[in-house]
Amino acid sequence: MTEPTEPPATSRSYQAEALRLLQRLQELRNLPALPGASYSEEIKKIQDRLETLRNRGASDTAWNTVQIARHQDRPQILDYVAQSLPDFLELSGDRLRGDDKAIVGGLATLGSRRIVLIGHQKGHTLKERQERSFGMARPEGYRKAMRLARLAEKFGLPVVTLVDTGGAYPGKDAEEGGQAGTIARSIEVFANLRVPTVAVVIGEGGSGGALALAVADRVLMLENSVYSVISPEGCAALLWRDSAEGPRAAEALRLTAGDLLELGLIDAVIPEPTGGAHTDHRVTVKRVMREVQLALAELERLDAGERLSLRRKKYLSMGSYAIANSR
């Protein structure tokens, strides 16, 4: 029997093959036990192949997804604006110190709604990336986000955030300017909003810098985006003492949209066009905006108090622990 050619290293091909094998396995198991017929050999072969796929697929999948999530051409907040929000009015500044271009925010009309849109912009070209610190925000950026969230609250506008950052900016000024406390206060502000809120992780959801914009009634993720407590490289450097172990850390952290949906930490996954979001901005943006509108429509059916109480309940119940049998 000829070995099938190695499938290309994308999550979908692994998953497709695994799915086919699982279906075949199910068929074989459901076959009536006819005298003289034994399927055990084929079953064993399928199980072995599944195991191989699982081992290789899992590590490759997570790491590949990280690469797709970080792709330079992946649509960023300003691409969403260009594709779907023609009347976007960008607002700037934290009213205290400066304007952080790692975070973009403003007013827009989405379908029949007026919204406040806030998100990270990493930049596509090297020049833009430098101007925007690769989407790594400083306290000024989180203060701008909080200010716009409060503006939304005042005028009863729903808040949509698009999350795409490797993390908060790690710098001396940022630290001295209260980076940690500002992130904490941003979490606090978004947790307490009475207007409907939807967060979409559209690329990289990097740790506290992402969470500062990602506390919401509904948290959605694009299929090839990732959301993690630490970058795989950072995790590898700390736990494996080797940042080259990123692929293994990526797998262990369970940072893909599918994993996080399964763990109950996000609400939905938005499928990307074949080949990834960067291959078709128009289709990606359309799908994201449709899901955002559906979520907002659902949230608007609740009254503000109920929404706030459900949001709090959701976050207060997050965690996974065991209960010891007391004696």
Partner: protein, 282 residues
């Protein structure tokens, strides 16, 4: 759900690294008399260097004698991701439990502080770097709930390397969970005082510990969101060794007070007497 055997919270302090008879202060080098360090709450009487202390000791130092009852001890670490790096996660936390004599990195107690009923949480850096996972988050929440129910203030002494990586996004979500828990206190007009000790970093510094009504810190404690190495690698800025110290955080307006451990209980009591809370619960 896994069954665990209840581990007794030992009140015994682990072998002191400094301060034994014939030892010198590892900071200033001055010889220390036997028991001298313990008497001054493990602060060097000569140079005021603050030695790290176990959570159990901290509770003894802050709570009135005979008033302590621990809560949330039945909550135990789980392994939701089946995390395996060089060693499996359950092996790491079991070892931490043995070494620290604690069930998790946050010890949660109901007690009295200078006669005033209070909920008191103390983190312990010896337990996996004081990292915040699901049990720390849930115990924090239960402390906040108890405080609201008993109409008491909440005091939490932080010491943490940040989020518990082995619990992945569950641990990041504890930042949101603890911040929301603090809101419950605020709405009940109950004070939350945060005490930052060496070191308090990452996700703990960027969550409950900095949304407190009053933030105190021990002298010389280091507080940073990002690790020094990450900052130097990303920005090529050289950081002074005391970068992010209590004193510099005070100068930059990030905290309220730097308080010597020997005066901490007195400062907490003074602060609580101004902000109210307590008095009706017991």
């Amino acid at each position: 759900m896994a069954k665990y055997v209840t581990v007794q919270v030992t009140r015994k302090e682990p072998a002191a690294a400094a301060g034994d008879a014939g030892e010198r202060c590892k900071k200033c080098g001055v010889p220390l008399e036997e028991g001298e360090l313990e008497k001054s709450l493990r602060v060097c009487p000569h140079c005021s260097y603050h030695y790290p202390i176990p959570a159990q000791t901290r509770v003894e130092q802050l709570a009135d004698e005979g008033t302590v009852s621990f809560i949330g001890e039945e909550l135990r670490t789980a392994d939701p991701l089946e995390f395996f790096d060089l060693r499996p996660y359950p092996e790491r936390f079991s070892e931490a439990q043995q070494e620290a004599g604690l069930t998790e990195a946050l010890l949660a107690a109901l007690c009295k502080i200078s006669g005033r009923p209070a909920a008191l949480g103390v983190m312990d850096f010896r337990f996996m770097g004081g990292s915040m996972g699901s049990v720390v988050g849930e115990r924090f929440y239960r402390l906040a709930q108890s405080a609201v129910e008993g109409h008491m203030p909440l005091v939490v002494v932080a010491a943490s390397g940040g989020a518990r990586m082995q619990e992945g996004l569950f641990s990041l979500m504890q930042m949101a969970k603890t911040v929301v828990a603090v809101q419950l206190l605020g709405e009940a007009r109950l004070p939350f005082i945060s005490v930052l000790t060496h070191p308090t970093t990452g996700g703990v510094l960027a969550s409950f510990s900095t949304v407190a009504d009053v933030i105190m810190a021990e002298p010389g404690a280091v507080m940073r969101f990002a690790g020094a190495r990450i900052i130097e690698q990303t920005t090529r800025e050289k950081l002074p060794p005391d970068f992010g110290s209590s004193e510099s955080q005070l100068a930059h307006g990030q905290i309220d007070l730097v308080v010597d451990r020997r005066q901490l209980k007195e400062y907490l009591a003074r602060c609580l007497s101004f902000l109210g809370g307590g008095g009706t619960g017991d």
